[in-house]
C-alpha cells in the first residue's frame, strides 16, 4: 500500500548527478558554439562572480537588503492577512462592506502598483517592504477566510451542543481547521514576497539583488546576473523548505502535509 521510502543518500546524490550533467553540457555548449560571454557566461565565470560577491563580500549588503525587505514585508503582510481573513470569515457585515472590492483588488496585478508605491515612499527599503506585504497579503487573506469557513459544521454543532462559547469554538475548532489553508497561503507568500521585492527594486532602488540584476544588465555582465539569480533562488528555496517543515510540525494531524514533507510518519 505504501511506497518504499527513497533513502536520503539517493535523494541527495541523484539531483547532484543532474547538476553535474547540466554544468558539463553548459560548458561544452559555450566552447562548441563559441557563445560570447556577454550573452551566456560559463559556469566558472558565474563562480567567480559569486566569489567576488560573497567571499570578497560585494553582494552581502544587497543580499541583506533584499532579505530584510522580504522578511519585514512578509511578516507584516501575512499577519495582516490572517487578521483580516479571520474578520472576513467571522463577520458577515464586514464581508458585505468589502467583498466586491476584494474581488476587484484580487484580479488586479499587484506589481503594477510598484511605481506608485515608490512615488509615495521613496527609493529606500520602506517602499520594498510595503510592496512585499501587498503581494503576500491576498492569497493568505483569502485562504485564511476559506479555511475558517470550511470548518466541519458537525464539529461546531458538537461544541455548541456542549455549551461552548463562540470564542472557544473559534480557538478550538475554526482556527485549527484553517491551519492547513493558512500554511498553504504562507507557502505561496514566500515566492510572491521575493517577486514583490525584486519588482520594487527594478522600479527604483540603490540596493538589493534586483538592483544588481538591473545594473548588471546595463553592462551586459551576465555572470553577475546569474549570480544574483542564484542568490534569489537560494532565498526562495530556504524559505519554502522552512515553511514546509513548519507546516508538517504544526499541522501534524493533516495527512496531506505529513506525506508531502520529508519527515518519516509518526507511526
Amino acid at each position: 500500500m505504501t511506497a518504499t521510502p527513497i533513502p536520503l543518500s539517493k535523494r541527495i546524490a541523484y539531483p547532484l548527478v543532474t547538476l553535474v550533467v547540466l554544468l558539463a553540457a553548459w560548458s561544452a555548449a559555450i566552447a562548441f558554439f563559441k557563445v560570447p560571454d556577454y550573452l551566456l557566461p560559463s559556469p566558472m565565470q558565474v563562480l567567480s562572480a559569486m566569489n567576488v560577491g560573497y567571499v570578497q563580500g560585494a553582494y552581502w549588503p544587497h543580499f541583506l537588503f533584499t532579505m530584510k525587505s522580504v522578511l519585514a514585508g512578509y511578516v507584516a503582510g501575512c499577519s495582516l492577512a490572517i487578521a483580516c481573513g479571520i474578520l472576513l470569515a467571522e463577520s458577515p457585515t464586514f464581508e458585505l462592506f468589502v467583498y466586491p472590492y476584494i474581488v476587484a483588488l484580487q484580479s488586479m496585478p499587484k506589481i503594477a502598483i510598484a511605481p506608485l508605491i515608490i512615488v509615495w515612499l521613496g527609493f529606500g527599503i520602506e517602499s520594498k517592504i510595503v510592496m512585499v506585504a501587498l503581494v503576500c497579503f491576498f492569497p493568505l487573506f483569502i485562504n485564511t477566510s476559506i479555511g475558517i469557513k470550511q470548518a466541519n459544521p458537525q464539529l461546531i454543532d458538537v461544541m455548541r451542543a456542549f455549551g461552548a462559547s463562540k470564542s472557544m469554538i473559534f480557538l478550538r475548532v475554526k482556527l485549527p481547521s484553517a491551519a492547513g489553508h493558512i500554511f498553504a497561503g504562507l507557502q505561496i507568500g514566500v515566492v510572491l514576497a521575493l517577486i514583490g521585492a525584486v519588482v520594487a527594486e527594478f522600479v527604483a532602488s540603490t540596493h538589493g539583488l534586483g538592483h544588481i540584476i538591473k545594473a548588471a544588465a546595463v553592462d551586459m555582465q551576465t555572470n553577475v546576473m546569474f549570480a544574483a539569480l542564484l542568490s534569489l533562488a537560494a532565498l526562495g528555496v530556504a524559505g519554502s523548505q522552512l515553511l514546509r517543515w513548519l507546516h508538517a510540525k504544526v499541522v501534524f494531524w493533516d495527512r496531506a502535509a505529513a506525506t508531502s514533507a520529508t519527515t518519516p510518519s509518526a507511526e
Binding site: 466541519n152 458537525q154 464539529l155 454543532d157 458538537v158 461544541m159 455548541r160 451542543a161 456542549f162 455549551g163 461552548a164 462559547s165 472557544m168 478550538r172 475548532v173 485549527p176 491551519a179 501534524f252 494531524w253 495527512r255 507511526e267
Partner: protein, 261 residues
C-alpha cells in the same frame, strides 16, 4: 414556570418543525409528543428522512421549533445548554486534540472544575475500554474506538440524558454488534436516560426499554412499543422468541411505512 409531567427528564409537546427551502416549506416534524423517563433507554426508530436527527437537534437546542415546545427537566429548551450529552453518527472528534482533551471539551465549555473533570474523563475512558489511549490522537484510533471516545465525551459532564444519533451507522457490522453490547453495559453503569436514534430494528429491540416508531415526511410518532426483555441482555437474548416477535412486529409496521417511490 417549570412543570414536569410524569417526572420525565425530557418531553416534547406538539413539536413541529418546518424548514423553508427553495422549493417551498418542508415539514420535518409534525405535532410530535413524547416523554423520556429517568433512567430509561428509549429508541427512536424510523426510515431515513423521518426527522429523527431533527428531533435530536431540537432537544439539544441547536435549532428552534416552529411550533410546540421541548422541555428538559421541566424547563423549555431555548438554546444549547450543555445539559445533555450528544453522540453523532460521525465521532466528530477534534483531530488536533488528544483523546483526553476531546473528552474534556464539555468540562471546559461549561467551565467546570478541570481536575475533577479529568478524573471523571479517565474513569469514563476506562469504562469504554480506552484507558491507555488517553494521550493518543483520534487519527491513531479505529472508527469503533473513536466512537467510544465520543460516548465518553457525551457522558463526562454527567448529563441526565445522552442522545445518540445513529452512533454505529458508520461502523462495520461486527464492530457495530460489539458496540451495541458495549452501549448497554455503559448505560447500565451510568444510569442516565438515553434517547437512541437508529434505523436498525434488532439494535433498537436489543437495547431499548421502549421504542418510538416514526413515519417520514412529515415525521410523527405512529407507534410505541415497550420491550420487556430482562437485563442485562446478551447474544442469547437475540435468539429468544420474544426478541424475534418484537422484531417481526416492527418489520411488519415498516412494510407500510417505507415506500420506495
Amino acid at each position: 414556570m417549570t412543570e414536569n409531567p410524569g417526572g420525565a427528564v425530557l418531553s416534547a409537546q406538539g413539536l413541529s418543525l418546518v424548514y423553508q427551502t427553495s422549493r417551498g416549506p418542508v415539514t420535518a416534524l409534525q405535532d410530535l409528543d413524547m416523554a423520556l423517563a429517568p433512567g430509561e433507554f428509549l429508541s427512536v426508530l424510523g426510515p431515513s428522512g423521518c426527522g429523527k436527527s431533527t428531533l435530536l437537534k431540537l432537544a439539544a437546542g441547536l435549532i428552534a421549533p416552529t411550533r410546540g415546545r421541548i422541555l428538559l427537566e421541566g424547563q423549555a429548551v431555548e438554546g444549547p445548554t450543555g445539559r445533555v450529552g450528544i453522540v453523532f453518527q460521525q465521532p466528530s472528534l477534534l483531530p488536533w486534540s488528544t483523546v483526553i482533551e476531546n473528552v474534556l471539551i464539555p468540562i471546559r465549555a461549561l467551565g467546570r472544575d478541570l481536575a475533577a473533570g479529568r478524573k471523571r474523563a479517565l474513569a469514563l475512558l476506562k469504562l469504554v475500554g480506552l484507558a491507555e489511549f488517553a494521550s493518543h490522537y483520534p487519527g491513531e484510533l479505529s472508527g469503533g474506538m473513536q466512537q467510544r471516545v465520543a460516548i465518553a465525551r457525551g457522558l463526562v459532564h454527567e448529563p441526565r440524558i445522552l442522545f445518540l444519533d445513529e452512533p454505529f451507522a458508520a461502523l462495520d457490522a461486527m464492530t457495530r454488534e460489539h458496540m451495541t453490547g458495549e452501549l448497554q453495559r455503559i448505560w447500565l453503569a451510568t444510569g442516565c436516560s438515553v434517547a437512541f436514534i437508529t434505523h436498525s430494528i434488532p439494535e433498537a429491540v436489543f437495547l431499548s426499554d421502549r421504542i418510538i416508531v416514526m413515519s417520514s415526511r412529515p415525521g410523527r410518532v405512529v407507534r410505541e412499543v415497550t420491550v420487556d426483555l430482562p437485563r442485562p441482555r446478551n447474544i442469547a437474548t437475540m435468539a429468544e422468541a420474544r426478541f424475534n416477535r418484537h422484531c417481526a412486529e416492527l418489520r411488519e409496521l415498516f412494510k407500510d411505512l417505507v415506500t420506495f417511490e
